[in-house]
């Protein structure tokens, strides 16, 4: 059974390929493997057993495969994304990057398929660890620091999750990963939710994302933007639909993300803040919890993975070809990198929700879900976030990279495989937008939704059009400035610096002082006291009894002096001893 389980589980091939990647590279077949494994996985997810498969282990029932309608939509987009990411990174010669990316995908698929919390936790940590290497493998000092912070934050989140799991097990002896009813949620569930929310980058647990993603490798960030947060969306959708805290925090993070995106200068950081914003729509939809809102969250996760990856790929091409990702250092690249521009703009209009793109048919479902549930406050916040989205990613980002003032940075269009990856993602943006049934068929909850009606169309064109007019009026004011904006990570980054300064300054000085005091005062007095006590022992106590101890010491000293330390002497002594022994035996 174990063997068939392994072959059925899509993570297995990813892990196997990841481990053997150095060998594949040596044999020069790694490109074929990089494409073949995701293709097999796309097929595999259609052949999964419908019943949950459980394996007994240490008295627990581990469910490695639990496939239903909710897992299917996420598995579908994850495997498609793995294929796009693999094609985009075909030119990379560093096998470690491919290994890390495949382990990361394996972790994400494993989490999506796990039916119990122990299995989930194992794959959850695999994701965290593998993705850290996608940052470190950029091999710059900035990436090393960002990767370490990323790992520490995710370990903390993992510990919150683990604490929740342990509490849950001790309270209920049940580790099945199923929906938690709002009325039955206890402290254990909230610990688990906090662990999930950290990965979904819900403020104030979000700063790791905008800190780490801009420093990752070009291909690493394409993978990372798709999997960590969306796996978190899946687990929240599985366990916590209808929790009010998610609805409110989701709407807040949707606005929070775009506000930072409006003022940021680093192109990949703008996109990172937009992940926070877009995941906000999904978290909000899950929190509202109605069929329409949850369907909207899933649909938006699907669409978001593809257009966000497209945006990261487009900006990644610019970074790969020019070595720059700050808007203030770029500009006027449209003549030199026209295809990257076209693809990025397609990603930009999709994320903004233009009609006939994927964002239009998915984002509006969440907003309609908020409207149907009569959540006016949430609805207005989500609409506000879509204004900010179009302003910063739809217009500002492409404008200051490809148009605006020509920076004179030399560049040319990226290698064919990067273009191919972008072309596939761009195709899906339009395909889903024009044929939403493809996406709606996979949704987990029942319900009908028709995105293309006259009012919705007119509403979208007005909002986006007049946002465009606003940018046109303010384009000089919105010019990026070469500055860094503080976020929540200030607390631990500055906090760590303060701790380091304290450690290297006052704490180190006190430690030195105490050491010196001990050496001068403590050590000498202790030695003197010890000598005095020895004299007292030998001179008084031993003398008063029989002097035996004193004589043992003297004899010991003599024996010690007999030791020459030369091997031949010992051998000779042993030989003499054996000779004498033999004589005794013979004579007696």
């Amino acid at each position: 059974m174990m063997a068939s389980l392994l072959l059925q589980h899509p993570s297995f091939l990813f892990i196997l390929a990841a481990v053997l990647m150095p060998l594949f590279q040596r044999l020069r077949i790694h490109k074929a493997v990089l494409v073949a494994v995701p293709l097999i996985a796309i097929y595999q997810i259609n052949t999964l057993p419908s019943a949950t498969v459980a394996c007994p282990y240490l008295g627990l029932q581990l469910s490695f495969i639990r496939a239903d309608q909710l897992t299917y939509i996420f598995l579908n987009v994850f495997t498609i994304m793995a294929l796009i990411g693999a094609i985009y990174s075909l030119h990379v010669q560093d096998w470690a990057q491919h290994t890390a990316a495949f382990l990361y995908v394996a972790g994400s698929l494993g989490v999506t398929l796990s039916g119990d919390y122990v299995t989930l936790f194992i794959f959850w940590e695999l994701m965290a660890l593998a993705s850290t290497f996608l940052i470190w493998l950029r091999r710059t000092p900035l990436a090393r620091g960002a990767g370490l912070r990323y790992l520490l934050v995710h370990i903390t989140g993992g510990l919150a999750l683990l604490a929740g799991i342990v509490l849950k097990y001790s309270a209920t002896r049940d580790l099945n990963f199923v929906q938690v009813p709002v009325s039955a949620a206890g402290i254990a569930d909230y610990f688990i939710m906090a662990g999930f929310m950290l990965n979904a980058a819900v403020p104030p647990l979000h700063a790791w994302l905008a800190d780490a993603y801009p420093e990752a490798t070009v291909c690493g960030s394409v993978f990372m933007c798709a999997f960590t947060t969306k796996t978190a969306v899946y687990v929240l959708c599985r366990a916590f639909p209808g929790f009010e805290v998610l609805a409110v925090m989701g709407a807040i993070m949707a606005v929070y993300g775009v506000c930072f995106a409006v003022i940021e200068n680093d192109a990949r950081r703008i996109l990172s803040y937009h992940i926070i914003s877009q995941v906000g729509y999904m978290v909000c939809g899950i929190g509202i919890g109605t069929d329409m809102a949850v369907n909207g969250a899933c649909a938006h996760a699907y669409a978001h993975i593809l257009y966000k990856a497209l945006l990261f790929m487009g900006v990644g091409c610019v970074l790969e070809m020019t070595g720059k990702q700050k808007l203030s250092e770029l500009g006027g690249l449209w003549r030199r990198m026209p295809w990257a521009m076209v693809f990025t703009v397609i990603g930009g209009i999709s994320i903004s929700g233009f009609p006939f793109t994927s964002g239009f048919v998915s984002k509006s479902m969440v907003i309609a879900g908020a409207g149907e549930a009569h959540r006016t406050g949430l609805l207005v916040m989500l609409m506000l976030a879509s204004v900010g989205t179009f302003l910063s990613v739809g217009i500002k980002l492409p404008y200051f990279i490809w148009f605006g003032k020509d920076s004179g940075v030399p560049a040319k269009d990226a290698p064919w495989n990067m273009q191919a990856g972008m072309a596939i993602a761009a195709f899906f943006c339009f395909f889903i937008g024009c044929y939403p049934e493809f996406l709606y068929r996979m949704l987990p909850r029942p319900g009908e939704y028709e995105p293309y009606n006259a009012y919705h169309f007119s509403e979208t064109v007005q909002v986006l059009g007049f946002t465009g007019l606003g940018f046109y009026l303010l384009r000089k004011k919105l010019a990026p400035v070469a500055k860094l904006n503080l976020d929540i990570d200030w607390f631990y980054r500055k906090g760590a610096q303060v701790v380091m300064q304290l450690a290297s300054g006052p704490i180190s000085a006190i430690d030195g002082l105490v050491g010196e005091l001990y050496r001068t005062a403590g050590m000498r007095s202790a030695m003197a006291a010890a000598r005095g006590l020895t004299r007292f022992d030998i001179g008084v106590i031993d003398f008063l009894i029989d002097g035996f101890a004193g004589r043992v010491v003297v004899m010991g000293e003599h024996f010690r002096n007999m030791q020459t330390g030369q091997l031949q002497h010992y051998i000779a002594a042993a030989a003499i001893f054996i000779f004498l022994l033999l004589i005794c035996v013979v004579l007696v």
């Binding site: 003022i263 449209w334 506000l384 007119s458 509403e459 007005q462 059009g465 606003g470 500055k483 904006n485």
Partner: protein, 82 residues
Amino acid sequence: MLLKILSFLNNRIPVLKWCFFAVLAASSLADIFVPRHEEHFFGDPIRLFWTAFGLVCCLAMSFMCKWISKHMIARSEDYYDG
């Protein structure tokens, strides 16, 4: 090929600009006549609500975020290096 199309468009920016304004006018005008099937919140029945919402929010968000950045959270790029 793509570059030719882009150059063609780039040479006609004033035309594009007027096209953009025409789309804006058309979308606002259309909103006056578009029927509302379901009204979910107070803004839905108001004509030109989304026109005003888009423009006002864009301007307000730009000014506020830029102000907060400039006066409160912007630091030099080597702020964390020290």
